[in-house]
Symmetry: C2
Subunit: 298 residues, 2 copies
């Protein structure tokens, strides 16, 4: 049986009180059979982000453990920080990494949502778990942040998917769901002309006629005297990284501009490299199990 | 502590007697903490090849267990098969895959060689473990095969590195050592002109002026009406796959020939993909720990 890997990235609204952070963290580190990839507390954001992986049931158990502690410890009344937020446990995406079908991840997210509802916390499902189109996007759900909740929670449009239909000052609301692994890919151009980066970003991104699973903006990298096409690829199977590279390169060529270098930011699943091998080395029939290390992943 | 992965590929000269193969195989499968990647018995070759990975000490223990059984079971007197061979346990390369330095692998190979010597089997060290240049290449050591051993074992030039300086009819000799993981990379050209493949292979391979860690030959793929530049890359860090691809492509261009596709044959370490990401996606500062699955490798 192939081992399954699910990832959970859990955001809590506490990045300053070290004693609280320690107790919240311990609820996760005491959870068995998970591998914690990253813990990042930011005092300015007043937020901590926990990222861990494991078999789906173990990942869910870890999420429940840390959530129970965080809901106890954190009081959102009076929470301030520079990062947008709506709840003590703010956003909790579950991300299928390896051998996990979307339905299985959805089942985990929904059981997690029901658990939160049982703790008395209103819950919205988002992304692939959304119950209506207006809840797919975190930005839409979070509009007005925590401070807008008292009014929202009187509007039928914002009836939660789990938990009480009421403003709960201490916990606020939690957004949870399932999303495909995101690849953050930035390509830096050998020019300081920001208009070129913006024009290429416009051709690249889905919303203005580009690739189906590509979001893109043009940015200036003032320190380096370069500009950047900064992209999020929301489905690397259908919009592969090397295809994105080739198209950026071809568009840059059309402006007479070269590519200086590029960045892949943050974690990415091994599967995201499959198309790199197929496309860039022209190996049409590569089997990822040829990679020796995969034999240790079960 | 980063987990270490060493690979062992052990070749024994028995591919026909199922009862013997079963007992030999069981000596390996009963060894703890190793992951067997492949077992391939070939009756025509009269040979079985075992490939496994694990922490260096566990891999060595497994090699000792299977070797003891194979040396007991197999009598080389009267062995016939289509694959060149010299011993009951014929060739045993140890290959560093992950977080294993060459010196550590050499230590394992030498302890394995001494163990074999202790069983009364003459041993030659080859590749990175060779004690003189004439023993680096398996082809040189194996010249004349098993049948040439009675005469060789009277020549001081062939004094073994371990074990008795004598022809041992039952076991023959074993060759063991350390080699860098080999990448077999074949690029197929959109032409049936074999001379073009041969000319490109000549430019690619080290021995005729090409890349330092590249061996290459030109072949016809008659079924497909194509030709192939068939390459072995003996050090993918210093002669990376995408650089090899680019040079083949550029040489093919110079003949007006396109690349049809390519093949990566057999197992390869995850590390071989690092330069693909850096080179083909222009990501200069990629950290292989960004790949989520690496967190499960320790």
């Amino acid at each position: 049986m192939a081992k399954k890997i699910l990832l959970c990235e859990l955001n809590v609204s506490e990045g300053r009180d070290e004693a609280k952070i320690k107790r919240i963290t311990e609820a996760l580190t005491a959870s068995p059979n998970i591998t914690i990839m990253d813990i990042d507390s930011d005092a300015d954001h007043n937020r901590s982000v926990y990222t861990w992986i494991g078999e789906p049931e173990d990942v869910l158990a870890g999420a429940m453990n840390i959530t129970k502690q965080a809901v106890e410890e954190i009081d959102m009344a009076g929470h301030h920080g520079s990062h947008p937020r709506q709840g003590a446990v703010d956003v909790v995406p579950f991300v299928p990494v390896r051998n996990v079908e979307k339905d299985e991840a959805l089942n985990i997210a929904r059981r997690y949502g029901k658990f939160l509802g049982g703790l008395g916390v209103p819950v919205y499902y988002y992304e692939d778990a959304a119950t209506k189109p207006s809840r797919q996007n975190l930005v839409d759900i979070r509009k007005g942040q925590y401070e807008a909740l008292p009014e929202k929670m009187r509007d039928e449009e914002w009836r939660p998917d789990e938990g009480p239909f009421a403003f709960i000052p201490k916990s606020g609301v939690t957004v949870t769901g399932v999303r495909f692994p995101l690849v953050a890919y930035n390509v830096n151009l050998r020019t300081d002309d920001l208009e070129i980066a913006k024009a290429i970003a416009k051709r690249m991104r889905f919303s203005t006629g580009g690739l189906r699973f590509c979001r893109a903006i043009g940015l200036a990298l003032e320190d380096r005297g370069l500009v950047q096409v900064s992209m999020n690829l929301t489905n690397f199977e259908k919009t592969p990284i090397p295809v994105v590279y080739d198209l950026v390169k071809s568009l840059a060529d059309s402006y007479g501009v070269g590519i200086a270098d590029a960045e892949l930011v943050g974690p990415l699943p091994l599967a995201a490299l499959e198309e790199v091998i197929r496309h860039s080395l022209r190996v049409r029939h590569f089997d990822m199990n040829q990679i020796i290390e995969t034999h240790l992943l079960g």
